[in-house]
């Protein structure tokens, strides 16, 4: 009896190894990279994410864009383009029907699967990972190279950097304001230090009220709230409901914690989400938006908005 179990187990292992070897071999044979081929200037570009679309428009590629994902809404002209499914589930057939010569995708699983399908059919794919500010800057450069808009890309990068520098100058050596960035109200989740939101906060002259955490967006409890000493609370608006309403709701929600400096000084803000949750060319607008919340005094003095 025992011998048969061993035999069965060995056979299974053998089958699995065999399959694994076949897969390894076939993986090597498949074209593995989306080589950025600069020989042809792409004329029909498909973008699968809102921030990618914004970058493309910023590089003045509006005419070359043939289709975008359905949640691309900035600039307004983006909404008029053909739709190819959502950010989460792109529709491969629609992408094919748009006859692209370059498809730009993000790096996460769902989009990677679509990218693989298209690659197998011989399409040119550019896959980018944009989860931090420096990754965004690299992505802008890569897109510039792929679309033969190197000059524009460099210009855009220069602009972004100079705007950020100006902002730093304006802020000078101001005291860092402790910020609690609320991502979700129930249960309460905040942005931790290992997020790009944290990067934005730091650029805007702030400091995350939450210390280092294991999770990127940890749920926090009452104790941490009491201890964090947040001087400002910022929440990005959710969904399409009215921001003023959300502002009122947030103020009501936080009124419980009257000892928090943020609540005492009424420094609770609900902000427009797009510039702060989308890592794109409007980065500086996002940072400035946050800076206004953190240091309203500095911005009240100067009339001109740096843009």
């Amino acid at each position: 009896m025992k011998k048969e179990w061993y035999a069965i187990a060995l056979i299974w292992l053998g089958v699995i190894l065999f399959i694994g070897v076949i897969q390894l071999i076939s993986n090597h044979r498949e074209p593995s990279q989306s080589v950025v081929d600069i020989s042809n200037k792409p004329n029909r570009i498909v973008s699968l994410a809102p921030n990618l679309t914004e970058i493309l428009f910023a590089l003045e590629l509006e005419e070359q864009i043939v289709a975008v994902s359905s949640d691309c809404d900035f600039p307004l002209k983006a909404a008029d383009k053909e739709k190819i499914g959502t950010f989460w589930k792109p529709n491969t057939e629609a992408i094919l029907a748009a006859k692209p010569d370059l498809v730009i995708t993000l790096w996460f699983e769902q989009q990677k699967a679509v990218a693989d399908s298209l690659k197998r059919l011989g399409y040119r794919i550019l896959t980018l990972k944009i989860e931090k500010i420096d990754e965004l800057l690299t992505a802008i450069q890569n897109i510039g190279t792929a679309t033969d808009r190197k000059a524009k890309a460099n210009q855009l990068l220069k602009n972004i950097n100079s705007q950020l520098n100006n902002l730093q100058l304006k802020l000078g050596s101001v005291n860092k304001v402790r910020v609690l960035w609320v991502v979700q109200a129930e249960p309460l989740r905040v942005a931790g230090r290992n997020t790009f939101i944290n990067e934005l906060i730091q650029l805007a002259g702030g400091e995350n009220a939450i210390g280092n955490t294991l999770q990127q967006y940890p749920p926090i409890g009452t104790e941490e709230i009491l201890v964090c000493g947040a001087e400002t609370i910022i929440q990005s608006a959710m969904g399409k409901s009215d921001i003023a309403e959300q502002q009122k709701a947030a103020e009501k929600f936080w009124s419980k914690w009257e000892h928090l400096p943020a609540v005492k000084n009424k420094r609770i803000y609900v902000v427009e989400p797009d510039t702060v949750t989308r890592l794109g060319p409007r980065l500086c607008q996002g940072v400035e938006l946050i800076a206004r919340c953190l240091h309203p005094d500095i911005f009240a003095q100067k009339q001109n908005t740096a843009q």
């Binding site: 499914g85 589930k89 749920p219």
Partner: protein
């Protein structure tokens, strides 16, 4: 003289069902959010990408999906037949003995720990889900053996215990996941049919078909197994070995299906039930016919999932649940006089 199932009769029925499957697959491959014309498809691929989109859509997107749906449907339906036989319960499904929580745990582990290696032609989630499913099944079998010679009750108890424990772990991991990781996992777990490469399809097809064939070879013993432990032994069936083989093979093909498409529900529960109501409980027939009808069902469900809302694509699991329920009720109403235990 009395009517018995002969290999001749079975072959004819299987061939007819296969023919229906092929027809359905072809019809569904022609349907989609983009209109394509078959004439253009037959013209063959263009010189470069974009020349003959009809061909590209048909061969690159639709055919792989339709083939995948058929394979997953067949695997889940056959696995459902086997689990219902082993547990002597027409309400069992392929996920009942830990496969779903094992797969879920594997998938969420891969996502949380940010594992990115792509191996065995599958995303890390898929591969870990596969390993998780098989590992859990082995654990359930081991505990079942430990507590009571792998008899039905002990298997069920072990399954319940493992499911509970793994669900707790999954809940914990879920609580610490990032929102987009979370969304990814849940979405994957809802069951999706996507386009895969030919090599992945080929290997998966080989695994699933081999598994189904092996199960077919023991299906006459499964008939006997459903009579009970003592009766089966009296009729010359080694119950432990047969159960182990059946369970192992069913778990294997289910794990392959889960690796390919996440947890598609309902197929493994209603198809065997429905086929049994119409064709009777003889597993030599029930198994292959359920497999083929499972394939047909999922092909149609997937076609609906990708066309019913236009650009918005639904996970196929949603369609199987919505379509499956009423369909099964209808079958039940029509054939209920045949079902003895309902009375």
């Amino acid at each position: 003289m009395a009517e018995t199932l002969t290999s001749g009769k079975l072959t004819i029925r299987v061939v007819i069902c296969l023919a229906v499957l092929v027809v359905v697959m072809c019809l569904c491959a022609v349907v989609g959010t983009q209109e394509i014309s078959l004439k253009k498809v037959f013209a063959g691929p263009g010189q470069k990408p974009g020349e003959n989109i009809d061909y590209e859509i048909f061969v690159g997107v639709r055919l792989p999906r339709v083939i995948l749906a058929a394979l997953v449907g067949a695997a889940l339906a056959c696995s459902g037949v086997i689990l219902q036989a082993i547990l002597r319960n027409p309400l069992a499904d392929p996920y009942i003995l830990g496969i779903s929580s094992g797969a879920g745990l594997g998938a969420i582990t891969a996502v949380i720990f940010g594992i990115t290696w792509n191996f065995w032609g599958g995303s890390p989630m898929a591969v870990f889900a596969f390993a998780g499913a098989l590992g859990t099944v082995w654990l359930v079998w081991f505990i079942g053996r430990f507590t009571g010679k792998s008899q039905v009750t002990s298997l069920l108890l072990a399954g319940v215990v493992i499911n509970a424990f793994l669900s707790a772990v999954i809940m914990f991991l879920t609580s610490i996941a990032k929102s987009d990781q979370l969304r990814l996992t849940i979405y994957w777990l809802m069951g999706n049919i996507t386009e895969k490469s030919l090599s992945v399809l080929g290997v998966s097809a080989a695994c699933i078909l081999a598994g189904i064939f092996a199960l077919f070879c023991i299906s006459h013993r499964l008939n006997v197994l459903t009579l009970g432990e003592e009766e089966a032994k009296g009729l010359g069936v080694d119950t432990t070995k047969t159960r182990a083989a059946a369970f192992g093979l069913a778990a294997f093909i289910t794990a392959v299906a889960v690796k390919l498409s996440g947890l598609v529900g309902f197929v493994g529960l209603i198809i065997p039930h429905g086929v049994r109501l119409i064709f009777g409980p003889d597993h030599r027939q029930l198994l292959p016919v359920s497999g083929i009808i499972g394939g047909i069902f999922l092909v149609i469900a997937d076609t609906l999932a990708r066309t019913v809302f236009g650009q918005e694509q639904l996970p196929v699991g949603v369609i199987t649940a919505i379509a499956g329920g009423p369909f099964f009720l209808f079958l039940l109403a029509k054939y209920s006089r045949k079902v003895s235990w309902l009375k």
